[in-house]
């Protein structure tokens, strides 16, 4: 495969703080013209990344939201036979030209487009187990044939393909082999500060400290069924700011816990902890050694 050394590089955007390895992985996928497969905890910004890659590269973006009923062929094109049958029955529309009944899917559109696109295939693991296998050739060669017309659609510009997966199903090896893989790790405190700064630039530093201490402490609790994620943290801070919660209140309580914990068992566990007179941490030193290097 030819390697384009002068490819357009992604360097991040002001609205998305990406760790170095992630930027490298994006660039690697652009340079090698292979799809980038992103995995990671929910809420680590897998889907949002595509929008920012598109923004950073100055390319338009197309999204293919995969559902449990999605078929690989839907992404290429759909032949609307029922419409055509109807038209022929009632004499409306031009039935002789089959092409008017071929409707491109997101993948097909990104191939046929005149300019290079960023294509996001979101949550590929939602679909059937065989789904990724059905896309192998299309993603490899970036071309497909419309069976009904015999026409071949080849990508004028290979789109930058980003694929996200939540690990609900294992992806087939043959598919994985064609991808560049990146696992988005949960951000550490330093990175998290930067991320929060993007969304809430004027947040008081001591308040932020308290917020992060509570947040990471919650994440450390092993019996939580669902750990709060970055996006939930950002929402929670919005709620705190709206309500004007002070630094002192936050020391002893976790207000608006519903923004962070989404399972009733988790909320109950926290209430029980409170009821037992459990103390919430106030200083970083009360968290594990991981936070105190």
């Amino acid at each position: 495969m030819s390697v384009d050394t002068s490819f357009t590089r992604f360097t991040g955007t002001p609205g998305y703080i990406a760790a170095g390895p992630l930027v490298d992985a994006v660039n690697c996928s652009i340079a090698l013209q292979r799809p980038l497969l992103l995995k990671g905890e929910p809420g680590t910004g897998k889907t949002v990344l595509a929008r920012h890659v598109a923004e950073g590269l100055g390319m338009p973006q197309l999204t293919w939201h995969v559902k449990s009923t999605s078929k690989a062929a839907d992404g290429l094109y759909v032949y609307d036979t029922v419409q055509r049958l109807n038209d022929s029955r009632f004499g409306t529309g031009d039935v002789s030209d089959i092409r008017t009944y071929i409707k491109y899917g997101p993948l097909g559109r990104s191939f046929a487009a005149a300019e290079r696109h960023v294509l996001l295939i979101d949550e590929i693991d939602k679909a059937d187990l065989e789904f990724p296998n059905d896309l192998l050739r299309e993603l490899d060669e970036m071309r497909f044939t419309i069976v009904e017309t015999g026409e071949e659609v080849a990508a004028r510009h290979r789109p930058v393909v980003l694929i996200t997966s939540n690990n609900e199903k294992e992806l087939p090896d043959a598919f994985l082999r064609r991808c560049i893989f990146h696992f988005i790790e949960f951000p550490d405190v330093a990175l998290m500060r930067k991320i929060v700064a993007v969304h809430h630039p004027h947040l008081d530093a001591t308040l932020l400290d308290q917020v992060l201490i509570k947040f990471y402490w919650l994440r450390e609790q092993n019996d939580l069924r669902k750990k709060p994620s970055t996006s939930e943290l950002v929402d929670w801070i919005s709620a705190l700011l709206r309500a004007g919660v002070s630094h002192d209140t936050l020391e002893a309580h976790i207000p608006f816990v519903g923004a962070l914990l989404k399972k009733e068992q988790d909320v109950e566990a926290l209430t029980r902890y409170d009821g037992r007179g459990g103390r919430l941490p106030v200083k970083w030193s009360e968290l594990g050694p991981r936070y105190n290097q």
């Binding site: 495969m1 050394t5 090698l32 893989f181």
Partner: protein, 400 residues
Amino acid sequence: MFLDLFYGLRDEGVPVAIQEWLAFVDALEAGLHGSSLLRFYHLGRACLVKSEVYFDAYDRVFARLFHGIEGSVDDEITEQLLEWLKDPKALPELTPEQLAAFERLDHDELMRRFLDTLAEQTERHDGGDRWVGTGGRSPFGHGGTHPTGIRVGGPGGSRSAMKVAEERRFRDYRTDMTLDGRQMRVALRRLRHLTRRGLPTELDLDETIDETCRNAGEIELVFRAPRRNDVRLLLLMDVGGTMDPHYEPVSQLLTALHEERGLRAFETYYFHNCVYDHVYRSARLLREDEVPTGDLLRRLDRRWKVVIVGDAAMHPAELLEAHGNIDPRRTTPTPGIEWLKRLANHFERVAWINPEPTSEWDFVQTTRVVRRLFPMFPFSVDGVTEAVRALVAARQGEAA
């Protein structure tokens, strides 16, 4: 050379193919790694490793191969290192083995190798990538840089590749470990056998066209039933006694199975140590929860898939002899082994999942006996995946 990385990964069971290796080489050619070992580490991982499950293996191989190569080398540090090299005993925290290995090399040899390493490293910074393989195994690197925790001029402040690799943060993602609920669900997703049954709600296009043509162009829509999972699963669980330490993972398996709504039917029963005349509807094994095992065999046909979770470790008499039940109030003349044989003969697909470590199976007499009746799988992601595969493997004489 750094093909060692490729084969090292394969030895660790990471599925890397030539195609991925070539992609990696392409990426290196494009200069994507810059001149930093950390970026080289991440680039290699992105290209070669396709699941976080194998990140730990990658870390181990990387740490082994690239031990001691770190950052750029400048004169000052070179001198410092040479200083230390002359007196390896002065290095704190060397293990006796390392020290012995060190002393086996005479000073000149060590010096020569060290300089070779340096030469290769300089070469790398001129743009080549020869530095990798031999340097990684250099005795100098091991003794000189790592145990003392001294990085040779690594990028100040930021994390080093070796540190990243050696931290092994992805240990938890290894699949040969016992699994958590989510991984369990991923493994169980394979448990399916699709058939069409139920209400016709899906448009059958081919039939619609055919019928419409037959109908002289008058549109005739034909529907068919969507595909559904046809798997019926019977789960038999050993509880109490030796199974107590396995309570947590086993309950996760149970939760995962309960949440797996795709199954056509699913029933769970409990037993203690071995299946006898009765199994129990609840894990408390109360008399009112009793269900005659014979009823199960009559009611559930052979297509039911059976998963037995148990350690198969008991006193031989409990398994092999009449009145063997450990609970004296419930003994029966039929020995446990007889019931197990009936299960094995009645159902087409049975898998036994044993939470005890595989290495111990051979040392337990009853486990050996049970293994002759049922295929036995360890309680890990790989084990459950294998078990599920065995359960849904193609059958003869049954249409899909």
